[in-house]
Amino acid sequence: MTGAPAAWLGLSWAPDPVYDIALARNLAAVLALGAGGCELRGRRAAALTLALAMVAVSAGFWSAALLRPYGLLVDSGVTRWAADTVVTARAGGTDILLAGEPGAMTPWRMAAERTSSDLVLAVPTLLPPIVLVASVLAIALLWPGRAASLAAMLWIAASTGPLDALRGVGLLDGIWRRPGRAIEWTAAVVMALGLSRLLRRWPRAAVIAVAIIMTAACLRGSPPRLGLLEAALHLTLDAHVWLVAGVAGLVIIRDPPAIVMAAGGALLVLASAVVPVFDTATASAFARLGLVLGAAPALEALAEGKRWVTAVAVSVALAGSYVAWWDPSRTDPVAKESLAPVPDGLAQATDWIAVHTDPGGVFIAHPDYAPAVAALGGRRVLRAPGYATAPDDERRRRLEQAVLDGNWPEALRSRYGIRYVLLAPGQFSERGLESPEQLAARGSFREIYASGKGLHVYELGEARR
């Protein structure tokens, strides 16, 4: 059964977004102050550890609070992705959720085929803390700069600010919406910082490597997009203190890869406003990272050895950071709806389908439930209007009508592999079905499942003609 993604982490409970969030935020604030305290004592490694714990608490809270994979049966794009992934893992083949419609084998589908579809479905939901922690560790461990750990802590605050979030290009808010992008970006950052370290004696080579990685990661642009003026305001106003401190720091340290990230990222953001081939949010994240790599040494220069200055900066940056106050239940309607579990009746029926029906058998289901049959039960469907439309949809629609009439052409039925019909009260009433039970009277249908919630599964027998 596809339940709370946090179950994959071994959590048997989920935090309550209303009653537990205050505790989580208080804990995050304590960890942020603790990080500042460690910085004050000169224990930067300990400070970084506490900062990472703060990220895990703040972002992890919401990953754990979602009681269904982000957007499943809420957002059509996410649901379609989940359906394609799950049918690949459970029913095999290369068809998408629609029977007889082959689709590209994406990395997600391949991963589901080799591991577990439930795990793959859970991954995007669990990504926010993973992406942040991975990028923080990459900065701290791979960036050759002296203030790497400080930059890593500042990155937690700088990665997404409230102004970025309001403009729709915040890194944190985008992880759930574009998990593939988030993974690619994290990998690109790891590679760019790793190569910066490996090639530090050959700065030109490092610059070229970082530029290539960054440009490649920014290709294949997708929404959100900004206009040129808005992009310029994003790079300046939204970056505020990071812009000033970052530019000052980059002038001081003259670190070529960091400069390439800041300047190149900014150019790519501007370019993305004109040429949609570039991805605005990805480019923006690189630009911000470059600035943060400059801001850390600038802060150290400003502090002139007074540790209280960096300690205050770390505490304020972490405790007041967007991630510490992140509340997707208010800012993201899809996340808000994903806080509720999949309805019991539907979950029970699709669990039964997953266990008791032929993986190769195709379902006819009402558009309301077709995506659930695929995404939860792992069975392909004949039609799923609103999620996927086959080129021969009209023929499928006629076949669907014929099956519901109990009078189908056998050759066509077997061509699509239709074996089952899922029905709930009130569904297909436009096709003359007043109740699910009426179906049995229309042809050779055998009821193989009936739930207390009114869901019925029928298996097709011989047609009347």
Partner: protein, 558 residues
Amino acid sequence: MNLFGADVRGLDVAAFLSSARLLFPLLALVWIAAGLKVRRAGWFLAGAVLANAYVWWETSWPLQRLYALGPSSDRLNNLAMTQAVAAGGPLLRTAQVGHLQFEPFWAALTAVLSGFDPARHLRLYAWYPLLTACGFALSLYAATRPRAGEPGWSAGERATIAGFVTLLSSAPMDWAGPYRVPWAMTFLLKPNHALGLLLAPWVVRAVAHAQRDRDRLMAGLLLHLLGWAFVIHMGALCVGLVAFAVLVSLWRRAEAARAWRDVLVAIGVNVLVVSPYLLLLFKGYHVFQSGARLQIPPGSPHLLEATTRTAALAVLAAGGAVVLFRRDRLGRVWCGLAVGALVLWLAYYPLHFLQQAKERDDVYYWLRVNLALCAAVGAWDLAGRLLARWRMATEETWRTAAVAVAALPFALPVWWDPSRMDLYFAGSLDPIPSRYTQVAARLAGDHHAVLAGDPYAARWMAALDGTRVLLAADFPAPRDWRARLEYASAAVCGQVADPLAAGAPWGVTHFIVTPAYLAECGVSLEQVQGLGPFRALEVARESDGNFVALFMLVPPRS
């Protein structure tokens, strides 16, 4: 039509708001650059005032009705309370028969400003947010000016304070928090509360500069005026004054005796003069009523709301508070106000357990205003130090401009998006339902009418025209609320032979009914129309079938 008489029915609201947000930073930068040429602090103050006006204009332009009229119960209530006075009713009475005013100063002021004309009051009300927001910035600038020969409080710093307090006391993600955006919730929604903010700087000034008994008396009288305007600000200011005296006792013992004398006299005079009003509040409102709703919201980390939610502002405020305390007496009073606001906020912890945590939102906004003031002083001080350290121009104009540019990204007009951040904006885009305006027009000018029937529709009439009503929805319930409810219900059901006579204790002359009210009473419109004592005056129907029907009561035929 919007407030300015423009037809905005075809306006693309999203594009309009987006353009306004994009335009503001450019205008602000041009204004700041021009300020370097003009070299007058007044220029920057004007910029802060205009920025407030910009937010108000941006929010008001797309609206085809008064902001929040309908979507917000508070707005309807406040209009219903003040319209009763504007319509010529007694100063201490609201539209609900027998109900006492909560904020009589506001009711009197708005009635006078409207020339006792309810229609004009309705039109003018839309401008009060503008007046109070801009007025608060100007009030702060003027009330913090130093007396002749005294150092500190430069004009540039005071302009910075005016800008910070109005434009930076709200933060970009406040809309997702439990207390929403302070600027919108104070100035846009409750200009009556903002009136208290306008007065507060003058009370602070009066206390800080009090030297003779006459001055202290004047401070007390000003404080009492604040109480009539908005009693919570008066209470918060009293706590702040006590905090000032305590702080001075701890760290400036030589000044302690004078501080306590000034504070106690001011508060004492205030309590003496304002006590009738306090009695009125105790009498008319259930001040000590407790309940589960009167607790800190479970999802709100209470202490963090005041500190780390705006962490950078809080740190600047801490620095600014120290600077203020060290500066002069006026600074120490302002510092005391910030400390007092924080203490008041912390006091909600015990009140939470007593289920008495009332008016948290207003106290929160008060705290944010005081934090922003201290943060302005902290930012001004920090800018001075950094500019001096980097051997850059330390001239006041450059310092003011530097702080303005640094603060610009966080300024309200840069990120304000009412369609996303304001609960009442979307509901205010359409005109007031014609069924209400039609019936209100029928009632206009009849200041002797008292409406019974649907409390929701009755409140609309009170808000639109100042008509007095038997019961208004969401008003404090009168002692005889059950009798009023039963009377109205029985009359509509035809169970009262002479509703005019039976309603005489309250002066009921008219009835107003809606489909929901009739369904609640179990009768149809036709049945009511068939009742002898009910003479139909107006049945205003909408295209969706909704209606409001107005009846005049007449004596039954013998």
